[in-house]
Protein backbone atom coordinates (compact mmCIF):
# COMPACT_ATOMS: atom_id res chain seq x y z
CA UNK A 1 0.00 0.00 0.00
CA UNK A 2 2.98 2.23 0.55
CA UNK A 3 4.38 1.53 -2.89
CA UNK A 4 1.28 2.26 -4.90
CA UNK A 5 -1.48 4.62 -3.90
CA UNK A 6 -3.87 2.92 -6.27
CA UNK A 7 -3.99 -0.09 -3.96
CA UNK A 8 -7.16 -0.24 -1.91
CA UNK A 9 -8.35 -2.86 0.54
CA UNK A 10 -11.91 -4.00 0.50
CA UNK A 11 -13.21 -5.91 3.48
CA UNK A 12 -12.48 -5.21 7.08
CA UNK A 13 -11.95 -8.73 8.30
CA UNK A 14 -8.68 -9.51 6.65
CA UNK A 15 -7.18 -12.52 8.37
CA UNK A 16 -10.73 -13.12 9.59
CA UNK A 17 -10.59 -15.40 12.59
CA UNK A 18 -6.85 -15.41 12.99
CA UNK A 19 -5.35 -14.17 16.22
CA UNK A 20 -3.05 -12.09 14.02
CA UNK A 21 -5.77 -9.93 12.65
CA UNK A 22 -4.79 -7.01 14.84
CA UNK A 23 -2.07 -6.37 12.29
CA UNK A 24 -4.69 -4.85 10.09
CA UNK A 25 -5.67 -2.43 12.75
CA UNK A 26 -2.25 -0.86 12.34
CA UNK A 27 -2.81 -0.64 8.61
CA UNK A 28 -6.11 1.07 9.30
CA UNK A 29 -4.31 3.84 11.13
CA UNK A 30 -1.93 4.53 8.28
CA UNK A 31 -4.10 3.87 5.25
CA UNK A 32 -7.61 4.27 6.62
CA UNK A 33 -8.78 6.29 3.64
CA UNK A 34 -7.92 3.40 1.35
CA UNK A 35 -9.68 0.69 3.27
CA UNK A 36 -13.37 0.04 3.30
CA UNK A 37 -15.32 -2.55 5.22
CA UNK A 38 -18.41 -3.33 3.20
CA UNK A 39 -21.61 -5.01 4.34
CA UNK A 40 -22.25 -8.70 3.83
CA UNK A 41 -22.74 -8.29 0.10
CA UNK A 42 -20.11 -10.37 -1.65
CA UNK A 43 -21.78 -9.92 -5.02
CA UNK A 44 -21.95 -6.20 -4.46
CA UNK A 45 -18.44 -5.58 -3.21
CA UNK A 46 -16.69 -7.92 -5.62
CA UNK A 47 -18.46 -6.05 -8.37
CA UNK A 48 -17.38 -2.79 -6.80
CA UNK A 49 -13.77 -3.97 -6.73
CA UNK A 50 -13.95 -5.09 -10.35
CA UNK A 51 -15.40 -1.78 -11.45
CA UNK A 52 -12.80 0.14 -9.46
CA UNK A 53 -10.08 -1.88 -11.17
CA UNK A 54 -11.57 -1.00 -14.55
CA UNK A 55 -11.25 2.64 -13.53
CA UNK A 56 -7.56 2.37 -12.72
CA UNK A 57 -7.36 1.44 -9.04
CA UNK A 58 -5.71 -1.76 -7.91
CA UNK A 59 -8.13 -3.13 -5.34
CA UNK A 60 -7.52 -6.10 -3.13
CA UNK A 61 -10.71 -7.78 -1.99
CA UNK A 62 -10.67 -10.17 0.89
CA UNK A 63 -13.44 -12.73 0.70
CA UNK A 64 -12.22 -14.37 3.91
CA UNK A 65 -13.69 -17.88 3.73
CA UNK A 66 -13.11 -19.27 0.23
CA UNK A 67 -16.64 -20.65 -0.03
CA UNK A 68 -17.99 -17.10 0.01
CA UNK A 69 -16.72 -16.53 -3.50
CA UNK A 70 -19.75 -18.57 -4.54
CA UNK A 71 -21.88 -15.59 -3.51
CA UNK A 72 -19.93 -13.38 -5.90
CA UNK A 73 -19.55 -15.84 -8.72
CA UNK A 74 -21.29 -13.79 -11.45
CA UNK A 75 -19.03 -10.79 -10.89
CA UNK A 76 -15.82 -12.84 -10.72
CA UNK A 77 -16.43 -15.41 -13.43
CA UNK A 78 -18.77 -13.60 -15.77
CA UNK A 79 -17.58 -9.99 -15.55
CA UNK A 80 -14.01 -9.74 -14.22
CA UNK A 81 -12.71 -12.79 -16.07
CA UNK A 82 -14.25 -11.82 -19.40
CA UNK A 83 -13.81 -8.07 -19.56
CA UNK A 84 -10.35 -7.92 -21.11
CA UNK A 85 -11.10 -10.49 -23.76
CA UNK A 86 -14.64 -9.34 -24.52
CA UNK A 87 -13.47 -5.77 -25.00
CA UNK A 88 -10.85 -6.89 -27.46
CA UNK A 89 -8.08 -6.00 -25.01
CA UNK A 90 -9.26 -2.52 -24.09
CA UNK A 91 -10.47 -2.88 -20.54
CA UNK A 92 -8.05 -4.13 -17.90
CA UNK A 93 -9.16 -5.48 -14.56
CA UNK A 94 -6.21 -5.41 -12.14
CA UNK A 95 -8.12 -6.73 -9.12
CA UNK A 96 -6.93 -9.30 -6.56
CA UNK A 97 -9.46 -11.54 -4.82
CA UNK A 98 -7.89 -12.98 -1.68
CA UNK A 99 -9.46 -15.95 0.09
CA UNK A 100 -8.68 -18.72 2.59
CA UNK A 101 -9.49 -22.13 1.15
CA UNK A 102 -9.56 -25.61 2.57
CA UNK A 103 -10.01 -27.78 5.61
CA UNK A 104 -9.58 -25.70 8.72
CA UNK A 105 -10.77 -27.93 11.55
CA UNK A 106 -14.51 -27.82 12.23
CA UNK A 107 -15.39 -25.63 9.29
CA UNK A 108 -17.98 -28.11 7.95
CA UNK A 109 -19.37 -28.10 4.45
CA UNK A 110 -19.94 -24.39 3.90
CA UNK A 111 -16.71 -22.99 5.30
CA UNK A 112 -14.16 -25.44 3.90
CA UNK A 113 -14.45 -24.86 0.17
CA UNK A 114 -11.51 -24.87 -2.23
CA UNK A 115 -12.87 -23.06 -5.28
CA UNK A 116 -9.59 -22.92 -7.21
CA UNK A 117 -10.35 -25.98 -9.33
CA UNK A 118 -13.61 -24.46 -10.55
CA UNK A 119 -11.89 -21.12 -11.10
CA UNK A 120 -9.15 -22.79 -13.13
CA UNK A 121 -11.91 -23.68 -15.56
CA UNK A 122 -12.75 -19.98 -16.07
CA UNK A 123 -10.37 -18.53 -18.66
CA UNK A 124 -9.22 -15.02 -17.92
CA UNK A 125 -8.34 -15.45 -14.25
CA UNK A 126 -4.83 -15.81 -12.88
CA UNK A 127 -4.58 -18.09 -9.85
CA UNK A 128 -1.83 -18.00 -7.23
CA UNK A 129 -1.52 -20.75 -4.64
CA UNK A 130 1.29 -20.08 -2.11
CA UNK A 131 2.52 -22.76 0.26
CA UNK A 132 4.90 -20.94 2.58
CA UNK A 133 5.39 -17.51 4.15
CA UNK A 134 8.04 -16.62 1.56
CA UNK A 135 5.72 -17.55 -1.27
CA UNK A 136 2.83 -15.61 0.21
CA UNK A 137 4.86 -12.43 0.24
CA UNK A 138 6.47 -12.80 -3.15
CA UNK A 139 3.38 -14.01 -4.98
CA UNK A 140 1.18 -11.40 -3.42
CA UNK A 141 3.38 -8.63 -4.76
CA UNK A 142 3.08 -10.07 -8.24
CA UNK A 143 -0.66 -10.47 -7.86
CA UNK A 144 -1.13 -6.83 -7.00
CA UNK A 145 1.15 -5.70 -9.81
CA UNK A 146 -0.60 -7.86 -12.37
CA UNK A 147 -3.01 -6.21 -14.76
CA UNK A 148 -5.19 -9.30 -14.79
CA UNK A 149 -7.85 -10.35 -12.30
CA UNK A 150 -6.07 -12.63 -9.87
CA UNK A 151 -7.40 -15.09 -7.35
CA UNK A 152 -4.98 -15.33 -4.43
CA UNK A 153 -5.75 -18.68 -2.85
CA UNK A 154 -4.39 -18.59 0.67
CA UNK A 155 -4.88 -21.17 3.44
CA UNK A 156 -5.71 -20.41 7.03
CA UNK A 157 -3.34 -23.10 8.25
CA UNK A 158 -0.46 -21.24 6.63
CA UNK A 159 -0.89 -18.51 9.21
CA UNK A 160 0.62 -20.85 11.76
CA UNK A 161 3.63 -21.81 9.69
CA UNK A 162 6.87 -20.10 10.51
CA UNK A 163 9.37 -19.71 7.72
CA UNK A 164 12.04 -17.52 6.30
CA UNK A 165 10.87 -14.46 4.47
CA UNK A 166 13.40 -12.35 2.63
CA UNK A 167 13.67 -8.71 3.65
CA UNK A 168 13.72 -7.58 0.06
CA UNK A 169 10.57 -6.79 -1.81
CA UNK A 170 11.45 -9.06 -4.69
CA UNK A 171 8.29 -10.41 -6.23
CA UNK A 172 7.97 -14.06 -7.19
CA UNK A 173 6.91 -14.29 -10.82
CA UNK A 174 3.82 -16.24 -11.80
CA UNK A 175 4.33 -19.36 -13.83
CA UNK A 176 7.48 -20.50 -12.03
CA UNK A 177 7.23 -23.67 -10.00
CA UNK A 178 9.48 -24.26 -7.01
CA UNK A 179 11.34 -27.40 -6.00
CA UNK A 180 10.68 -27.36 -2.27
CA UNK A 181 12.75 -30.47 -1.66
CA UNK A 182 15.03 -32.26 -4.08
CA UNK A 183 14.93 -36.02 -4.41
CA UNK A 184 15.43 -38.70 -7.02
CA UNK A 185 12.81 -41.38 -6.38
CA UNK A 186 9.33 -39.90 -6.81
CA UNK A 187 8.03 -36.56 -8.02
CA UNK A 188 5.53 -35.42 -5.42
CA UNK A 189 3.60 -32.44 -6.74
CA UNK A 190 1.64 -30.53 -4.13
CA UNK A 191 -0.12 -27.21 -3.64
CA UNK A 192 -0.83 -24.79 -0.84
CA UNK A 193 -0.80 -26.14 2.70
CA UNK A 194 -0.48 -29.68 1.36
CA UNK A 195 3.10 -28.83 0.42
CA UNK A 196 3.85 -28.54 4.12
CA UNK A 197 2.17 -31.88 4.73
CA UNK A 198 4.28 -33.39 1.95
CA UNK A 199 7.49 -32.00 3.42
CA UNK A 200 6.63 -33.77 6.67
CA UNK A 201 5.85 -36.95 4.78
CA UNK A 202 9.12 -36.64 2.85
CA UNK A 203 11.14 -36.56 6.07
CA UNK A 204 9.45 -39.74 7.25
CA UNK A 205 9.86 -41.44 3.89
CA UNK A 206 13.55 -40.55 3.89
CA UNK A 207 13.91 -42.75 6.93
CA UNK A 208 12.51 -45.58 4.83
CA UNK A 209 15.13 -44.83 2.23
CA UNK A 210 12.76 -43.09 -0.16
CA UNK A 211 13.78 -39.67 -1.44
CA UNK A 212 10.88 -37.67 -2.82
CA UNK A 213 11.15 -34.46 -4.80
CA UNK A 214 8.46 -32.05 -3.68
CA UNK A 215 7.44 -29.76 -6.53
CA UNK A 216 5.21 -26.78 -5.86
CA UNK A 217 3.62 -25.18 -8.96
CA UNK A 218 2.91 -21.99 -6.92
CA UNK A 219 0.49 -20.71 -9.57
CA UNK A 220 -2.18 -22.60 -11.53
CA UNK A 221 -2.55 -19.86 -14.09
CA UNK A 222 -0.01 -19.41 -15.55
CA UNK A 223 1.22 -22.95 -15.02
CA UNK A 224 4.82 -24.13 -15.15
CA UNK A 225 4.66 -27.57 -16.72
CA UNK A 226 8.31 -27.55 -17.76
CA UNK A 227 9.71 -27.75 -14.23
CA UNK A 228 7.37 -30.62 -13.46
CA UNK A 229 8.37 -32.50 -16.59
CA UNK A 230 12.08 -32.16 -15.80
CA UNK A 231 11.42 -33.68 -12.44
CA UNK A 232 9.43 -36.51 -14.00
CA UNK A 233 12.29 -37.05 -16.42
CA UNK A 234 14.45 -37.71 -13.37
CA UNK A 235 12.15 -39.85 -11.24
CA UNK A 236 9.66 -41.42 -13.71
CA UNK A 237 7.05 -41.59 -10.95
CA UNK A 238 4.39 -39.06 -10.06
CA UNK A 239 2.12 -38.51 -7.09
CA UNK A 240 -0.05 -35.38 -6.95
CA UNK A 241 -1.44 -34.19 -3.60
CA UNK A 242 -3.98 -31.38 -3.45
CA UNK A 243 -6.89 -30.32 -1.29
CA UNK A 244 -9.58 -29.73 -3.94
CA UNK A 245 -12.06 -32.55 -4.36
CA UNK A 246 -10.98 -35.35 -6.67
CA UNK A 247 -13.44 -34.88 -9.54
CA UNK A 248 -12.18 -32.18 -11.89
CA UNK A 249 -9.81 -31.14 -9.16
CA UNK A 250 -6.44 -29.46 -9.44
CA UNK A 251 -4.70 -32.85 -9.33
CA UNK A 252 -6.88 -34.06 -12.18
CA UNK A 253 -5.77 -31.30 -14.49
CA UNK A 254 -2.09 -31.63 -13.57
CA UNK A 255 -2.29 -35.39 -14.13
CA UNK A 256 -3.85 -34.87 -17.54
CA UNK A 257 -1.14 -32.44 -18.61
CA UNK A 258 1.66 -34.77 -17.51
CA UNK A 259 0.02 -37.76 -19.18
CA UNK A 260 -0.42 -35.86 -22.42
CA UNK A 261 3.11 -34.48 -22.67
CA UNK A 262 5.29 -36.72 -20.54
CA UNK A 263 3.72 -40.16 -20.92
CA UNK A 264 6.91 -41.73 -22.22
CA UNK A 265 8.79 -40.62 -19.11
CA UNK A 266 6.50 -42.53 -16.76
CA UNK A 267 7.24 -45.98 -15.39
CA UNK A 268 3.99 -46.26 -13.45
CA UNK A 269 0.54 -44.68 -13.49
CA UNK A 270 0.03 -41.24 -12.01
CA UNK A 271 -1.49 -41.29 -8.54
CA UNK A 272 -3.68 -38.54 -7.08
CA UNK A 273 -4.23 -37.83 -3.40
CA UNK A 274 -7.17 -35.44 -3.30
CA UNK A 275 -9.94 -34.63 -0.88
CA UNK A 276 -12.69 -37.20 -1.26
CA UNK A 277 -15.75 -36.38 -3.32
CA UNK A 278 -17.97 -35.72 -0.33
CA UNK A 279 -19.36 -32.51 1.19
CA UNK A 280 -16.97 -31.72 4.03
CA UNK A 281 -18.35 -33.29 7.19
CA UNK A 282 -18.27 -31.45 10.46
CA UNK A 283 -17.16 -34.16 12.85
CA UNK A 284 -13.39 -33.78 13.47
CA UNK A 285 -12.30 -37.37 12.86
CA UNK A 286 -14.32 -37.45 9.65
CA UNK A 287 -12.87 -34.19 8.47
CA UNK A 288 -9.37 -35.37 9.29
CA UNK A 289 -9.97 -38.44 7.21
CA UNK A 290 -11.12 -36.94 3.94
CA UNK A 291 -8.23 -34.68 3.06
CA UNK A 292 -4.86 -35.45 1.47
CA UNK A 293 -3.39 -36.72 4.72
CA UNK A 294 0.22 -37.59 5.40
CA UNK A 295 -0.55 -41.30 5.58
CA UNK A 296 -2.43 -41.36 2.27
CA UNK A 297 0.40 -39.43 0.63
CA UNK A 298 3.04 -41.79 1.97
CA UNK A 299 1.00 -44.79 0.87
CA UNK A 300 0.74 -43.39 -2.65
CA UNK A 301 4.47 -42.72 -2.83
CA UNK A 302 5.31 -46.24 -1.70
CA UNK A 303 2.85 -47.67 -4.21
CA UNK A 304 4.53 -45.70 -6.97
CA UNK A 305 7.75 -47.48 -6.26
CA UNK A 306 6.47 -51.02 -6.40
Amino acid sequence: MTADERVHLINGTFLSLSPHRHVFQDLQKKFGDRMIAPPISELGFCGLATGAAMAGLRPIVDLSTGSFIYEAWPQVANEAANAFSMSGGQTRVPVVFHLFHGLRGGGAAQHSGSPQAMLWNVPGLEIALPSSPRDVKGLFKTAVASDNPTIFVDHIRLLDIRGEVPESDKPIPFGVADIKRAGGDVTLIATSYTVQVCLGAAQKLAKEGIEVEVVDPRTLVPFDLATILSSVEKTHRVVIADETHQSCGVAAEIAARIAETGFDKLKTRIRRVSTLDVPVPYSPPLEAHIGPTESRIMEAVRAALI
Partner: protein
Amino acid sequence: MATKKENLKEVVELLRRMWLIRAFEEKVSALYAERQIVGLLHLGIGQEAVAVGALSLLHDDDYVYGGHRSHGHAIAKGADINKLMAEIAGRATGYCGGKGGSMHIVAKECGFITATGVVGGTIPLALGAAFASKERKKGQVAAVFFGDGAGQAGPFHESLNIASLWRLPVIFICENNGYAEFTPLSAHTKIERLAQHAKTYGIPASTLDGNDLFAVRNAMTKAVANCRAGKGPVFVECLTHRMRGHYEGDPAKYRELSQLAEWKKKDPIARVARMLRSKQAITDKELKAMESKARTLVEKAAKFSLSSPWPADGSLTSQVYKTT
Protein backbone atom coordinates in the same frame (compact mmCIF):
# COMPACT_ATOMS: atom_id res chain seq x y z
CA MET B 1 -46.79 -6.61 28.31
CA ALA B 2 -48.72 -9.83 28.54
CA THR B 3 -52.02 -9.94 26.77
CA LYS B 4 -55.06 -10.96 28.69
CA LYS B 5 -55.26 -13.96 26.41
CA GLU B 6 -52.10 -15.51 27.76
CA ASN B 7 -52.83 -18.57 29.78
CA LEU B 8 -50.47 -18.45 32.76
CA LYS B 9 -49.94 -22.19 32.80
CA GLU B 10 -48.84 -21.92 29.22
CA VAL B 11 -46.47 -19.10 30.10
CA VAL B 12 -44.82 -21.27 32.73
CA GLU B 13 -44.23 -23.87 30.04
CA LEU B 14 -42.76 -21.25 27.75
CA LEU B 15 -40.43 -20.12 30.48
CA ARG B 16 -39.33 -23.70 30.95
CA ARG B 17 -38.41 -23.84 27.27
CA MET B 18 -36.50 -20.58 27.48
CA TRP B 19 -34.54 -21.95 30.41
CA LEU B 20 -33.76 -25.09 28.46
CA ILE B 21 -32.24 -23.02 25.68
CA ARG B 22 -30.28 -20.85 28.10
CA ALA B 23 -28.91 -23.85 29.96
CA PHE B 24 -28.08 -25.62 26.71
CA GLU B 25 -26.15 -22.69 25.30
CA GLU B 26 -24.25 -22.14 28.51
CA LYS B 27 -23.27 -25.79 28.65
CA VAL B 28 -22.18 -25.87 25.04
CA SER B 29 -20.09 -22.79 25.72
CA ALA B 30 -18.42 -24.51 28.66
CA LEU B 31 -17.69 -27.59 26.58
CA TYR B 32 -16.17 -25.37 23.92
CA ALA B 33 -13.90 -23.74 26.47
CA GLU B 34 -12.77 -27.23 27.45
CA ARG B 35 -12.15 -27.98 23.78
CA GLN B 36 -14.65 -30.81 23.83
CA ILE B 37 -16.38 -29.01 20.99
CA VAL B 38 -14.40 -27.47 18.13
CA GLY B 39 -15.08 -25.36 15.11
CA LEU B 40 -17.31 -22.32 14.96
CA LEU B 41 -19.95 -21.86 17.64
CA HIS B 42 -22.51 -19.05 17.66
CA LEU B 43 -24.69 -18.79 20.75
CA GLY B 44 -28.08 -17.22 21.15
CA ILE B 45 -27.90 -16.37 24.82
CA GLY B 46 -30.21 -13.42 25.37
CA GLN B 47 -32.36 -14.12 22.32
CA GLU B 48 -34.53 -16.88 23.81
CA ALA B 49 -37.76 -14.87 23.72
CA VAL B 50 -37.67 -14.67 19.95
CA ALA B 51 -37.17 -18.38 19.47
CA VAL B 52 -39.72 -19.52 22.01
CA GLY B 53 -42.16 -16.71 21.39
CA ALA B 54 -42.25 -17.26 17.65
CA LEU B 55 -42.08 -21.02 17.42
CA SER B 56 -44.58 -21.73 20.16
CA LEU B 57 -47.22 -20.63 17.67
CA LEU B 58 -46.27 -23.10 14.96
CA HIS B 59 -47.27 -26.70 14.42
CA ASP B 60 -44.99 -29.66 13.94
CA ASP B 61 -45.68 -29.67 10.24
CA ASP B 62 -44.80 -26.02 9.73
CA TYR B 63 -41.36 -25.45 8.28
CA VAL B 64 -38.61 -23.60 10.11
CA TYR B 65 -35.29 -22.48 8.69
CA GLY B 66 -32.44 -20.97 10.65
CA GLY B 67 -28.99 -19.45 10.34
CA HIS B 68 -25.69 -19.92 12.09
CA ARG B 69 -27.16 -19.00 15.48
CA SER B 70 -29.94 -21.54 15.56
CA HIS B 71 -29.56 -23.93 18.48
CA GLY B 72 -32.34 -22.07 20.25
CA HIS B 73 -34.59 -22.19 17.20
CA ALA B 74 -34.21 -25.94 16.93
CA ILE B 75 -34.89 -26.45 20.62
CA ALA B 76 -37.92 -24.17 20.53
CA LYS B 77 -39.29 -26.14 17.61
CA GLY B 78 -39.02 -29.32 19.66
CA ALA B 79 -35.64 -30.78 18.81
CA ASP B 80 -34.24 -33.49 21.04
CA ILE B 81 -31.42 -31.82 23.00
CA ASN B 82 -29.44 -35.06 23.22
CA LYS B 83 -29.27 -35.46 19.48
CA LEU B 84 -28.69 -31.74 19.11
CA MET B 85 -25.76 -31.60 21.45
CA ALA B 86 -24.30 -34.78 19.98
CA GLU B 87 -24.41 -33.13 16.57
CA ILE B 88 -22.65 -30.03 17.86
CA ALA B 89 -20.05 -32.34 19.34
CA GLY B 90 -19.65 -34.14 16.03
CA ARG B 91 -20.80 -37.55 17.22
CA ALA B 92 -22.46 -40.35 15.30
CA THR B 93 -25.57 -40.02 17.48
CA GLY B 94 -26.12 -36.43 16.41
CA TYR B 95 -29.01 -35.35 14.21
CA CYS B 96 -26.81 -35.44 11.12
CA GLY B 97 -24.50 -38.21 12.21
CA GLY B 98 -21.85 -35.63 13.03
CA LYS B 99 -21.71 -34.39 9.46
CA GLY B 100 -23.30 -30.99 9.97
CA GLY B 101 -22.14 -29.50 13.22
CA SER B 102 -23.43 -26.41 14.98
CA MET B 103 -24.30 -24.37 11.92
CA HIS B 104 -26.01 -27.06 9.92
CA ILE B 105 -28.65 -28.49 12.25
CA VAL B 106 -31.42 -30.56 10.68
CA ALA B 107 -34.20 -31.88 12.93
CA LYS B 108 -36.75 -32.81 10.34
CA GLU B 109 -39.16 -34.72 12.52
CA CYS B 110 -40.13 -31.60 14.40
CA GLY B 111 -40.07 -29.35 11.38
CA PHE B 112 -36.69 -27.70 11.78
CA ILE B 113 -35.64 -28.14 8.18
CA THR B 114 -32.15 -26.74 8.15
CA ALA B 115 -29.80 -24.06 9.31
CA THR B 116 -26.91 -22.59 7.34
CA GLY B 117 -23.50 -21.02 7.75
CA VAL B 118 -24.09 -18.62 4.89
CA VAL B 119 -25.67 -15.33 5.90
CA GLY B 120 -29.21 -15.28 4.54
CA GLY B 121 -28.63 -18.62 2.87
CA THR B 122 -31.90 -20.19 3.99
CA ILE B 123 -34.16 -17.28 3.08
CA PRO B 124 -34.69 -18.45 -0.51
CA LEU B 125 -35.10 -21.99 0.76
CA ALA B 126 -37.97 -20.96 3.01
CA LEU B 127 -39.68 -19.58 -0.05
CA GLY B 128 -39.52 -23.01 -1.56
CA ALA B 129 -41.20 -24.62 1.40
CA ALA B 130 -43.87 -21.93 1.37
CA PHE B 131 -44.40 -22.47 -2.34
CA ALA B 132 -44.84 -26.20 -1.83
CA SER B 133 -47.19 -25.55 1.03
CA LYS B 134 -49.29 -23.26 -1.12
CA GLU B 135 -49.59 -25.99 -3.74
CA ARG B 136 -50.51 -28.54 -1.13
CA LYS B 137 -53.22 -26.30 0.37
CA LYS B 138 -52.92 -27.71 3.88
CA GLY B 139 -52.27 -24.32 5.45
CA GLN B 140 -48.68 -24.98 6.42
CA VAL B 141 -46.41 -21.98 6.81
CA ALA B 142 -42.68 -21.50 6.56
CA ALA B 143 -40.72 -19.34 9.00
CA VAL B 144 -37.12 -18.27 8.46
CA PHE B 145 -34.78 -16.69 11.01
CA PHE B 146 -31.93 -14.38 10.02
CA GLY B 147 -30.07 -11.46 11.50
CA ASP B 148 -29.64 -7.81 10.66
CA GLY B 149 -26.52 -8.69 8.67
CA ALA B 150 -28.65 -10.41 6.07
CA GLY B 151 -30.46 -7.21 5.20
CA GLN B 152 -27.74 -6.09 2.82
CA ALA B 153 -27.59 -9.33 0.91
CA GLY B 154 -29.01 -9.58 -2.57
CA PRO B 155 -30.88 -12.85 -1.98
CA PHE B 156 -32.74 -11.20 0.91
CA HIS B 157 -34.25 -8.68 -1.48
CA GLU B 158 -34.91 -11.21 -4.19
CA SER B 159 -36.78 -13.33 -1.65
CA LEU B 160 -38.90 -10.47 -0.34
CA ASN B 161 -39.88 -9.61 -3.91
CA ILE B 162 -40.83 -13.14 -4.89
CA ALA B 163 -42.66 -13.90 -1.65
CA SER B 164 -44.71 -10.78 -2.11
CA LEU B 165 -45.44 -11.31 -5.80
CA TRP B 166 -46.53 -14.89 -5.35
CA ARG B 167 -48.18 -14.35 -1.92
CA LEU B 168 -46.19 -17.10 -0.32
CA PRO B 169 -47.01 -18.16 3.24
CA VAL B 170 -43.64 -17.29 4.69
CA ILE B 171 -42.84 -15.43 7.89
CA PHE B 172 -39.57 -13.53 7.79
CA ILE B 173 -38.26 -13.26 11.33
CA CYS B 174 -35.37 -10.86 11.64
CA GLU B 175 -33.40 -10.92 14.86
CA ASN B 176 -31.92 -7.48 14.79
CA ASN B 177 -29.26 -7.60 17.48
CA GLY B 178 -27.47 -4.59 16.07
CA TYR B 179 -24.32 -6.39 15.00
CA ALA B 180 -23.29 -8.22 11.90
CA GLU B 181 -20.27 -10.24 13.01
CA PHE B 182 -17.96 -7.68 14.55
CA THR B 183 -19.40 -4.44 13.29
CA PRO B 184 -22.51 -2.51 14.18
CA LEU B 185 -25.34 -2.33 11.70
CA SER B 186 -24.62 1.34 11.06
CA ALA B 187 -21.35 0.37 9.39
CA HIS B 188 -23.26 -1.73 6.90
CA THR B 189 -26.15 0.44 5.93
CA LYS B 190 -27.95 3.68 6.60
CA ILE B 191 -31.11 1.79 7.39
CA GLU B 192 -31.85 1.09 11.04
CA ARG B 193 -34.90 -1.11 10.73
CA LEU B 194 -35.05 -3.96 8.27
CA ALA B 195 -38.84 -3.93 8.41
CA GLN B 196 -38.55 -0.96 6.08
CA HIS B 197 -37.30 -3.23 3.30
CA ALA B 198 -40.28 -5.50 3.66
CA LYS B 199 -42.60 -2.53 3.29
CA THR B 200 -40.86 -1.58 0.04
CA TYR B 201 -42.08 -4.85 -1.40
CA GLY B 202 -45.56 -4.46 -0.02
CA ILE B 203 -45.14 -6.95 2.81
CA PRO B 204 -46.83 -6.10 6.14
CA ALA B 205 -44.07 -5.58 8.66
CA SER B 206 -43.60 -4.72 12.31
CA THR B 207 -40.69 -3.99 14.61
CA LEU B 208 -40.93 -4.94 18.25
CA ASP B 209 -39.02 -5.61 21.46
CA GLY B 210 -37.61 -9.05 20.81
CA ASN B 211 -36.84 -9.56 24.46
CA ASP B 212 -40.53 -9.34 25.33
CA LEU B 213 -41.92 -12.85 24.96
CA PHE B 214 -45.48 -11.59 24.72
CA ALA B 215 -44.78 -8.95 22.11
CA VAL B 216 -43.18 -11.64 19.98
CA ARG B 217 -46.13 -13.96 20.46
CA ASN B 218 -48.60 -11.23 19.60
CA ALA B 219 -46.87 -10.39 16.35
CA MET B 220 -46.41 -14.03 15.48
CA THR B 221 -50.05 -14.86 16.14
CA LYS B 222 -51.12 -12.27 13.60
CA ALA B 223 -48.43 -13.36 11.15
CA VAL B 224 -49.42 -17.01 11.31
CA ALA B 225 -53.10 -16.16 10.85
CA ASN B 226 -52.23 -14.04 7.84
CA CYS B 227 -50.23 -16.80 6.20
CA ARG B 228 -52.65 -19.59 6.91
CA ALA B 229 -55.44 -17.49 5.43
CA GLY B 230 -53.47 -17.20 2.20
CA LYS B 231 -52.90 -13.47 2.50
CA GLY B 232 -49.20 -13.68 1.79
CA PRO B 233 -45.94 -13.15 3.68
CA VAL B 234 -45.32 -11.19 6.86
CA PHE B 235 -42.13 -9.63 8.22
CA VAL B 236 -41.45 -9.54 11.95
CA GLU B 237 -38.40 -7.65 13.16
CA CYS B 238 -37.38 -8.43 16.73
CA LEU B 239 -34.96 -6.04 18.40
CA THR B 240 -32.75 -8.04 20.69
CA HIS B 241 -29.17 -8.57 21.74
CA ARG B 242 -26.72 -11.43 21.90
CA MET B 243 -25.05 -11.46 25.26
CA ARG B 244 -21.95 -13.20 23.95
CA GLY B 245 -19.65 -12.36 21.10
CA HIS B 246 -20.40 -13.22 17.50
CA TYR B 247 -18.92 -16.65 18.07
CA GLU B 248 -17.31 -18.30 21.05
CA GLY B 249 -13.83 -16.88 21.32
CA ASP B 250 -14.82 -13.43 20.19
CA PRO B 251 -14.03 -11.03 23.03
CA ALA B 252 -16.46 -8.53 21.48
CA LYS B 253 -14.27 -5.54 22.18
CA TYR B 254 -16.31 -3.64 19.65
CA ARG B 255 -19.21 -3.55 22.08
CA GLU B 256 -19.47 -1.03 24.89
CA LEU B 257 -19.73 -2.61 28.31
CA SER B 258 -22.46 -0.15 29.16
CA GLN B 259 -24.47 -1.48 26.26
CA LEU B 260 -24.10 -4.98 27.62
CA ALA B 261 -25.25 -3.81 31.03
CA GLU B 262 -28.31 -2.15 29.50
CA TRP B 263 -29.34 -5.32 27.77
CA LYS B 264 -28.77 -7.43 30.87
CA LYS B 265 -31.54 -5.44 32.48
CA LYS B 266 -33.83 -6.52 29.65
CA ASP B 267 -33.01 -10.21 30.02
CA PRO B 268 -35.98 -12.03 28.49
CA ILE B 269 -36.01 -14.85 31.00
CA ALA B 270 -35.92 -12.54 33.99
CA ARG B 271 -38.81 -10.53 32.58
CA VAL B 272 -41.09 -13.51 32.21
CA ALA B 273 -40.14 -14.73 35.67
CA ARG B 274 -40.98 -11.32 37.12
CA MET B 275 -44.32 -11.31 35.38
CA LEU B 276 -45.22 -14.76 36.63
CA ARG B 277 -44.16 -13.91 40.17
CA SER B 278 -46.20 -10.73 40.11
CA LYS B 279 -49.26 -12.74 39.11
CA GLN B 280 -48.44 -15.30 41.80
CA ALA B 281 -48.33 -17.97 39.14
CA ILE B 282 -44.96 -19.21 40.31
CA THR B 283 -42.84 -19.16 43.44
CA ASP B 284 -39.12 -18.48 43.80
CA LYS B 285 -38.65 -22.07 44.78
CA GLU B 286 -40.37 -23.26 41.62
CA LEU B 287 -38.27 -20.91 39.51
CA LYS B 288 -35.07 -22.26 41.01
CA ALA B 289 -36.32 -25.79 40.42
CA MET B 290 -37.05 -24.90 36.82
CA GLU B 291 -33.53 -23.69 36.24
CA SER B 292 -32.13 -26.67 38.03
CA LYS B 293 -34.20 -29.09 36.00
CA ALA B 294 -33.06 -27.47 32.79
CA ARG B 295 -29.43 -27.77 33.81
CA THR B 296 -29.92 -31.40 34.77
CA LEU B 297 -31.41 -32.25 31.40
CA VAL B 298 -28.57 -30.45 29.69
CA GLU B 299 -25.97 -32.27 31.77
CA LYS B 300 -27.52 -35.54 30.68
CA ALA B 301 -27.33 -34.42 27.09
CA ALA B 302 -23.67 -33.55 27.55
CA LYS B 303 -22.89 -36.92 29.07
CA PHE B 304 -24.75 -38.64 26.29
CA SER B 305 -22.93 -36.65 23.64
CA LEU B 306 -19.43 -37.01 24.98
CA SER B 307 -19.82 -40.71 25.54
CA SER B 308 -21.23 -41.26 22.07
CA PRO B 309 -18.94 -42.73 19.48
CA TRP B 310 -17.41 -40.74 16.70
CA PRO B 311 -18.87 -41.43 13.27
CA ALA B 312 -17.42 -44.52 11.60
CA ASP B 313 -15.15 -43.96 8.62
CA GLY B 314 -17.64 -45.73 6.41
CA SER B 315 -20.20 -43.05 7.05
CA LEU B 316 -18.04 -40.61 5.13
CA THR B 317 -19.10 -41.69 1.74
CA SER B 318 -22.60 -42.65 2.71
CA GLN B 319 -25.43 -40.16 2.41
CA VAL B 320 -23.63 -38.05 -0.16
CA TYR B 321 -26.07 -39.14 -2.83
CA LYS B 322 -29.33 -40.90 -2.40
CA THR B 323 -29.21 -44.38 -3.86
CA THR B 324 -32.16 -46.74 -3.84
